[in-house]
């Protein structure tokens, strides 16, 4: 339990610190750095408490379930590998915090800085102590995100934003490959628990998926560790504040890839494929990075390429799949962290004090800033692999390993190439230190400013340099046990016997080392000439290529996206119809018979005529679609035929509904038509018409064919039998359709009236704003498109309308009351009532008619829905479910027996809602036209007066 808590605290501390600094973002720099430093220091203390047992062979371990179905557990464990990395992360992290405190100006957004830094630290820590592959991935991607924030910290600088995006794109993208690889690894291994996976290397390597998962995982590692050809993001990440560079590129971000290679060594390493890829990529990167570093002038850029090179070396070592090579790698990780962090901080100091990082402008700084010179020179020497420093030992170990592998079948090739890389390393390291600190000042200005910073700023690099020196002087004492344990952890086997010392006698490694030093000196001597040649060679610029390819992708993806998504209704519909047609054709292929076996009804001549009427009218609609009034008349014909169809085929309710809906629709269309432009339509091109026509005919044939197939089949047993049997006895009505609507499926009807109510409200909302804005202007500028009769309210029409209203309303009442037993019902009654009132509006005008009504349409809709709902809820009181109906027969003297059904109350709700919605829509529409006309008249008379 204590262990679990320790582990949890360890990984949580940085996140807590991140949150604290973010929340206290308005506090001072001191507060921020204090929090961050405290978190790092606290972590170190916790880690130290675990160090002994871990090196002694214990593996502190804790697990909590997080997503069991996924296999994602919150498993934390510290083995020596994790311990070493955690130590680096926290230790160098602490030093970086201290350094950053002095490096950053007090007025910078230090809260944001330290929050991001701590977020990064936490993520990094998570990677190295994660005991679950998926958990590791979580932290892995978080490091990409956090580094994005850190690199882009100086947001106003273009290079910072670009560098941040590039780092995110490459490492985040590689991370995605890693996700694929790791999930695959887990699936192959049958577990996402790292310890379990590590024990199942044989299974993994034997799996046919091994090459795939290996490739994906390596992609993740190589991008993160800036291996060639994914190295280019790293130099641009130097746009970050130097403390960030020091942190990301010495101990953390880029080391994550190396860490993962080491972590998965027992599972992945050892195959020819693995060795071939990893070794060659590492070797290439090592040589390439070192070569480029030779010719860089920006201090941080040199360090960046040196980092690339050093990482290449580590990767190459791990690629060997040899235990001794793993040992070399483990030691070099420590060495690199120490000297590289020291160098970055020194570079930061130099920049901070001189205002430049261009080594061509600097020189002879040893006099001006001796302490910095001492620190940086020692660190550079370690990087060069010069004795008696730590770098020397690990480089020796590396060179010692190289003959063990034959590259391309040539046993000498690898040692030779490795020596070449080492030569370059010596070259750039010496150039760095020599150029900066020895010789004469090259430019006066930066030199004049230069002096050693205060102790706070050089303390951290000094400490690291001391470490680098001690790693050379007392390696066994300082790093022996750890390195051994780490090696064992990497390989999953006991570490080989080893001895870390400066002097191993005269062996091949030492000879190669000497060659490298001599070669490095030679390079430095010939540097000017070589530089000229390098600059003539004009190698392709990776960053520019990356950006160009992004711009290219953006341009074309944008073009394609815009082209596909042009908001064209015609295209949307074309796509939809085409998809449907294709799907129907697919369905047809499932077979079955086309014509069924039902005995058909012979058609009467009249039916044939009605059919011809419908088809002629449809053709006329299509043909004459620009002549709007005519089209409406044709539509009326279609509606008429449809109504007759319903009458003929035993559907009186449908006929009533169709008839009344039809006229309301026509009124609506006429109202709208008055304001819509009547100009000739845009003519489609002939090919387009043909295309649409073909699609239309295909669609028509298919739907008609389906209808035929359906109509010619005998129906099977249907739930409607129940409705027919229970309408009277259970629903209390003889009109089965109505009983279905207000009882069996009243819930549908509730939805249906709500649809209508919403339509009314939506229409109201749509039209209410027409008086203002562009629409208002357009309406104000409205002029008649045809000369109109001056008579607004024809006498006979008005007089007739006065009697038509009560007559029609009485019919509506009649239809409503009988609906439960005979054709009719609330919906039809509402439409009839609405028509009755619309006749008033038609005859006497909106204002006159509207002034006389006593309740608003909104209220009607609301009360209608509420009535229907209340009917449904009433059943609750009787312990029944929603919309349970009841009915009873009553008798009163004189009047006789009559029926009352709760369904009729429901139907009242239907009536009110439908009536309200129809009136709201039409009245509102007619109203804007009236306003428009009035505005027009007002304008006209004003114009006449002027």
């Amino acid at each position: 339990m204590a262990i679990a808590l320790t582990l949890l605290t360890l990984v949580a501390l940085p996140f807590v610190a991140a949150l604290a600094t973010a929340l206290l973002h308005q506090a001072t720099r001191a507060v921020h750095s204090a929090i961050a430093a405290a978190a790092s220091a606290g972590g170190l203390v916790l880690l130290a408490s675990l160090a002994g047992p871990v090196i002694g062979g214990e593996i502190p371990f804790a697990t909590w379930q997080w997503v069991p179905s996924l296999g994602l557990d919150l498993t934390l464990m510290i083995d020596p590998l994790g311990l070493m990395f955690a130590g680096l992360i926290l230790g160098i992290g602490l030093l970086v915090v201290i350094f950053a405190h002095f490096y950053l100006d007090a007025d910078e957004a230090t809260g944001r800085f330290f929050a991001s830094l701590m977020l990064f630290q936490g993520a990094m820590l998570g990677i190295v102590i994660a005991g679950n592959v998926l958990l590791l991935l979580v932290f892995w991607e978080m490091t990409s995100l956090a580094s994005f924030l850190l690199i882009g910290f100086w947001q106003h600088r273009a290079e910072a934003r670009q560098g941040a995006r590039m780092a995110l794109a490459v490492t985040g993208g590689g991370g995605l490959a890693l996700i694929g690889g790791m999930v695959l690894l887990g699936l192959v291994a049958g577990s996402f628990d790292i310890a379990t996976i590590l024990a199942r290397g044989d299974i993994v390597r034997a799996s046919p998926l091994y090459p795939v998962l290996l490739g994906l995982i390596l992609l993740g590692c190589f991008t993160k560790s800036a291996q060639f050809p994914f190295h280019f993001w790293l130099p641009h990440a130097m746009a970050a504040p130097t403390p960030v560079s020091a942190y990301l590129h010495s101990a953390t971000m880029v080391k994550a890839g190396v860490f993962l290679l080491a972590r998965l060594w027992p599972v992945l390493a050892g195959t020819e494929l693995y060795t071939g890829i990893v070794t060659s990529v590492g070797l290439t990167t090592m040589i390439f990075g070192a070569l480029v570093a030779l010719f860089r002038h920006d201090l941080k850029s040199i360090l960046a390429y040196s980092t690339i090179s050093q990482l290449g070396m580590l990767v190459m070592l791990l690629g060997f799949s040899l235990e001794t090579a793993a040992l070399a790698a483990a030691l070099h990780i420590l060495n690199h962290a120490a000297f590289k962090a020291a160098l970055f901080m020194s570079a930061g100091i130099v920049e901070h004090e001189t205002g430049t990082r261009d080594i061509r402008r600097l020189g002879g700084l040893a006099k001006a800033m001796p302490m910095t010179a001492l620190i940086a020179t020692l660190a550079a020497a370690s990087m060069a692999g010069l004795p008696p420093l730590g770098g020397f030992i690990s480089k020796e170990l590396m060179l010692y390993e190289t003959p063990k592998l034959a590259l391309l079948g040539l046993p000498w090739l690898l040692p030779a190439l490795a020596t070449l890389g080492a030569t370059f390393s010596v070259g750039y390291s010496l150039r760095l230190a020599g150029h900066l600190f020895s010789g004469r000042p090259r430019e006066a200005e930066p030199f004049a400013r230069a002096h050693d910073p205060g102790f706070g700023m050089w303390a951290a690099p000094a400490l690291l340099t001391v470490l680098a020196v001690l790693l050379g002087l007392i390696p066994m004492l300082l790093a022996g046990p750890l390195t051994g344990a780490v090696t064992a952890a990497i390989t999953g086997a006991p570490a080989p016997a080893f001895d870390l010392a400066l002097w191993h006698g005269l062996n091949l490694a030492l000879i190669l080392s000497l060659i490298a030093v001599a070669g490095g000196a030679l390079l430095l001597w010939q540097h000017k000439r070589l530089l000229a040649a390098w600059e003539r060679a004009s190698l392709p610029d990776a960053k520019r290529m990356f950006e160009a390819s992004f711009a290219f992708a953006d341009k074309w993806v944008r073009k394609a996206t815009v082209a596909v998504h042009t908001p064209s209704l015609q295209r949307m519909l074309l796509a939809s119809f085409a998809v449907i047609v294709l799907l129907v054709i697919d369905g047809i292929q499932a077979g079955g018979s086309f014509t069924g076996t039902r005995s058909l009804l012979p058609a009467s001549p009249l039916a044939f005529i009605a059919w011809a009427l419908l088809i002629a009218a449809t053709a006329a609609v299509v043909n004459d679609s620009h002549n709007r009034l005519r089209v409406l008349i044709y539509i009326s014909v279609i509606g008429l035929v449809v109504s007759l169809t319903f009458v003929q085929f035993s559907a009186p309710d449908l006929a009533l509904t169709q008839i009344s809906v039809e006229v309301v629709t026509i009124l609506l269309l006429l109202l709208a038509l008055n304001l819509l432009p009547k100009s000739p339509p845009l003519l489609s091109s002939a090919p387009r018409k043909w295309r649409d026509g073909m699609l239309a005919v295909t669609g028509g044939v298919l739907v008609g064919g389906i209808a035929w197939a359906m109509l010619t089949r005998d129906p099977g047993p249907s739930i409607a039998a129940y409705h027919l049997a229970n309408a009277k006895s259970g629903g209390g009505g003889t009109n089965v359709v109505n009983v279905i609507l207000v009882d069996f499926r009243a819930f549908d009807t509730l939805g249906e009236i709500i649809v209508l109510g919403i339509a009314g409200l939506g229409i109201f909302a749509l039209l209410d704003s027409t008086a203002t804005g562009a629409a208002g202007a357009r309406l104000r500028a409205w002029r008649e498109d045809m000369p109109h009769s001056p008579e607004r309210h024809p006498l006979m029409l008005v007089a007739a309308s006065r009697i038509v209203l009560p007559l029609t309303l009485t019919v509506a009442i009649y239809l409503f009351l009988r609906g439960h037993n005979q054709p009719g019902g609330g919906f039809i009654a509402a439409l009839v009532a609405a028509i009755a009132f619309l006749v008033q509006y038609l005859a006497a005008g909106f204002d006159w008619s509207d002034r006389r009504k006593r309740i608003g349409e909104h209220q009607l809709i609301a009360w209608g829905v509420l009535t229907a709902m209340a009917t449904g809820l009433g059943a609750f009181l009787f312990g029944s479910s929603f919309l349970t109906s009841t009915f009873g027969y009553f008798s009163l003297p004189l009047i006789g027996k009559f029926e009352l059904a709760s369904a009729m109350l429901f139907d009242t709700g239907v009536f009110l809602t439908v009536f309200g919605a129809v009136m709201l829509a039409l009245a509102q529409l007619s109203h804007i036209a009236a306003r428009a006309a009035r505005a027009h008249a007002a304008q006209h008379s004003e114009g006449g007066g002027a």
């Binding site: 045809m786 008579e791 006979m796």
Partner: protein, 140 residues
């Protein structure tokens, strides 16, 4: 009142054929008469009686043949009698208006163009009803 079924059937059949015949004649008038004003006479009249006969036929059929007392068909006629003149009036107004506007599709028929009413005014279709006149009784 009891009529033998064959006689009742005969009556109903007669009414049906009469009604449908009038409907057909009305529509025939619609086809053959020379201009809208003449065509208007065909349907609006012949079909009123046409439908009337068919509706009476329906009443008679239920009454006499099936022995069911029905009257509601007559309501259709009531509605038609109230509305048919208005429909005709409105259609005629459209014609008058279009004709006055010189619409090529609304040529004057054989009766020519109606003369304006005496008194220097015009028909309401061409000139809005004067304030206070019966035509102005709507109120707004």
């Amino acid at each position: 009142m009891t009529i033998g079924v064959p006689l009742a059937e005969l009556l109903v059949s007669f009414l049906i054929v009469l009604g449908a015949g009038f409907a057909l004649i009305g529509s025939w008038g619609l086809v053959r008469l020379p201009s809208l004003m003449e065509r208007l006479h065909g349907p609006t009249k012949a079909t009123t009686l046409g439908l009337g006969a068919m509706l009476v036929g329906s009443v008679a059929w239920f009454q006499l043949v099936r022995g069911e007392w029905t009257t509601h068909e007559l309501l259709v006629s009531v509605f038609l009698f109230v509305t048919a003149p208005i429909s005709a009036n409105m259609i005629a107004k459209v014609h008058l208006h279009r004709e006055r506007q010189g619409e090529p599709s609304a040529q004057p028929g054989p009766a020519g163009v109606p003369a304006p009413p005496p008194g220097g005014t015009d028909w309401a279709t061409h000139s809005a009803p004067q304030l206070g006149s019966p035509g102005d009784f709507v109120g707004d």
